[in-house]
Symmetry: C2
Subunit: 275 residues, 2 copies
C-alpha cells in the first residue's frame, strides 16, 4: 500500500507562531488550551512548564499569561491588562482580524452575522467585540425570523468551509440592502481543504489526524468522508486499526492546523509497519 | 380558456413617476427614450408634445430636457446643467441609488463590479459615476483574469435576476477579502418576477407584454419560458397569433415595468375574442 500526504496539511502559520511564543515564554499559563491539540500541549507543559488554565479566574500567582491562538473575549483581555500580569498575545493574526472587523462594523452601525460555532473559543472572542446586534449561525435558516438592520456585515470563523458561507451571504442578499462580506476564512484552511479534497478523491482510505475538538480538523474529515467512505479521524497513532488498511492501494493522510509533525510521523510509521 | 393576470405586473413606481413628470412638462425633449415602450412614447409625443432625442448633441432650441428613467451619464448631466436648459430629472430613484453608491464606493477606493448589460442606458449611467476601476459583467467568468483590488463593491442593474447576482458575489468571495454587496435590484422587479414564476408554473400558454429592448421584460419572458414552453414575448396585440391558444385551458399574462395598462387591456380583449 502506498501512503501519500496531502499537498498541504498540518501546522499553520498561527499555530507555529503560538508554539514559538509559548516555548520562549516558559513558566507561563495559557488562558484556555493554546491550540486544539492535547499532545502538543502536554509537550509544552513538560518541556517548557507552560500550563493551561480554563479561564482567567484560575490565575493565581502566575507572572505571564499567554492568550491562546483562538483569542479571548474583549472583557477578559481588559481584565488581564488591568491585573498587571505580563500579557503575551499568541492570538493568530487571522483571528485578530475578524475581531477588529467585528468591532469596527459594529461601531459603524452594521448588524453583525458570524458564520461559526457559538461555543468555539474563537467565535466567543470575535463576538465579544460587537457592541450592537450580533448573530452567530451555522445555517442560513437560523436567520429566517430575525429582523435585521438593512446593513449587515458578515464574518466567518477562520476554519469554516466557503460553500456554506456563500449560501449564508446569498440568503442575506435577499433580506437586506447592503451585505458587507469579509472573507475571514484563512488561507491555510483553504489550502488544507483543497488538498484533502483532491487526495481523498483518489485514496482508498483516508486518515485525518487532529484534535477531536478542532474545527478545522473536523472540516478536513468531513471533506474526506464525502469523497472516500473509509475515512477516519484520529488524534494519534494509538487509535489506528490495522483492519482499515486491508486490501487498500492508496492511503491518504492529512492533519489539522494544530497537529505537530512529530505526531504525523508516528502515525505514518505505524501504518508502514502494518504493511 | 381562462385568462389570468400575474399577481404583480406592469408599470412600476419609477415609470409611473416619469410619465407623470413628462405629461406635466409638455413641449419638452427627453434624452433617449423616457421608458422602454415605444407605444407609450408615441402617446406622450402625440398628446403632450414630448419628443425623444437620441442624445444631448441633438438638443437645439428646446427649453426643457427630461432625463429618462434609466438615467444618463455623469458627464452628460454636467453638460446639460452647464448649458442653462431647464433640466427635469425623471431618473428612477432606484437607479439614482446605484449611481450614488458607485460614486461613493469608488471614492473610498473600492473596485466596482456591476452586474448588468454594458450597453443598457442604465448601466452606462451608473458606470460613469466610477472614477477608478469598474467592471461590467453578465457572468462571473468575465472576472476570471481580472486583477481585482482586495476591496470590491458590487452593484446590480435594477432589473436583473437575483440568482445570477448571487453567483457573481460567491465568485468574488473566493477572489478578494472584502465584497461589499449592494442589492440594487428593485422590488417591483422582484415582485413581477416572482409573480410570473408562480403563474407560468400553472399556465398552458404565457403572454409577456413589453418592449423587446426592455431588460426587465426580457427577464420576465425568460422566467416564463423556463416553466411554460408556450411562452411569447410581444410588444402589442397585433403580434398575437390565434394558433397559440388552441386547446389551452389557462392563459397567463404579465407585462414589463414600462408597459401601460391600455396596451395590456388591448391584448386581453383580442385574446378573449379568439375564444
Amino acid at each position: 500500500m502506498k501512503i501519500e500526504l496531502a499537498s498541504s496539511y498540518g501546522f499553520c502559520f498561527g499555530v507555529k507562531r503560538a508554539i514559538k511564543i509559548a516555548e520562549n515564554a516558559k513558566d507561563a499559563a495559557t488562558i484556555g488550551p493554546l491550540i486544539h491539540n492535547n499532545e502538543e500541549i502536554n509537550r509544552l507543559r513538560q518541556n517548557f512548564n507552560v500550563k493551561t488554565l480554563e479561564g482567567i479566574d484560575e490565575l493565581t500567582d502566575e507572572k505571564k499569561a499567554i492568550i491562546r491562538t483562538h483569542g479571548i473575549t474583549k472583557s477578559d483581555l481588559e481584565q488581564l491588562n488591568k491585573s498587571g500580569i505580563n500579557v503575551i498575545d499568541a492570538t493568530c493574526p487571522f483571528v485578530t482580524k475578524p475581531q477588529q472587523i467585528c468591532e469596527k462594523m459594529s461601531n459603524e452601525g452594521y448588524d453583525i452575522v458570524i458564520f461559526g460555532d457559538e461555543n468555539h473559543p474563537e467565535i466567543k472572542g470575535v463576538k465579544s467585540y460587537a457592541k450592537g446586534n450580533v448573530y452567530v449561525v451555522l445555517e442560513e435558516d437560523e436567520l429566517k425570523n430575525v429582523k435585521l438592520n438593512q446593513r449587515v456585515a458578515v464574518i466567518s470563523q477562520t476554519t469554516k468551509k466557503i460553500e456554506k458561507f456563500m449560501q449564508i451571504v446569498s440568503f442575506l442578499m435577499l433580506k437586506v440592502k447592503e451585505v458587507r462580506v469579509f472573507n475571514t476564512i484563512c488561507n491555510a484552511t483553504f489550502e488544507n481543504q483543497e488538498a484533502v479534497d483532491a487526495l481523498s478523491k483518489r485514496a482508498d482510505v483516508m486518515i485525518i489526524i487532529g484534535g477531536k475538538n478542532s474545527s478545522n480538523t473536523k472540516q478536513l474529515y468531513s471533506i474526506a468522508k464525502q469523497n472516500c467512505t473509509d475515512s477516519y479521524l484520529i488524534e494519534n497513532e494509538t487509535e489506528l486499526n490495522k483492519i482499515w488498511f486491508n486490501n487498500k492501494d492508496l492511503c491518504g493522510i492529512s492533519a489539522g492546523a494544530s497537529t505537530p509533525d512529530w505526531i504525523i510521523q508516528k502515525v505514518i510509521d505505524k501504518i508502514e509497519n502494518f504493511n
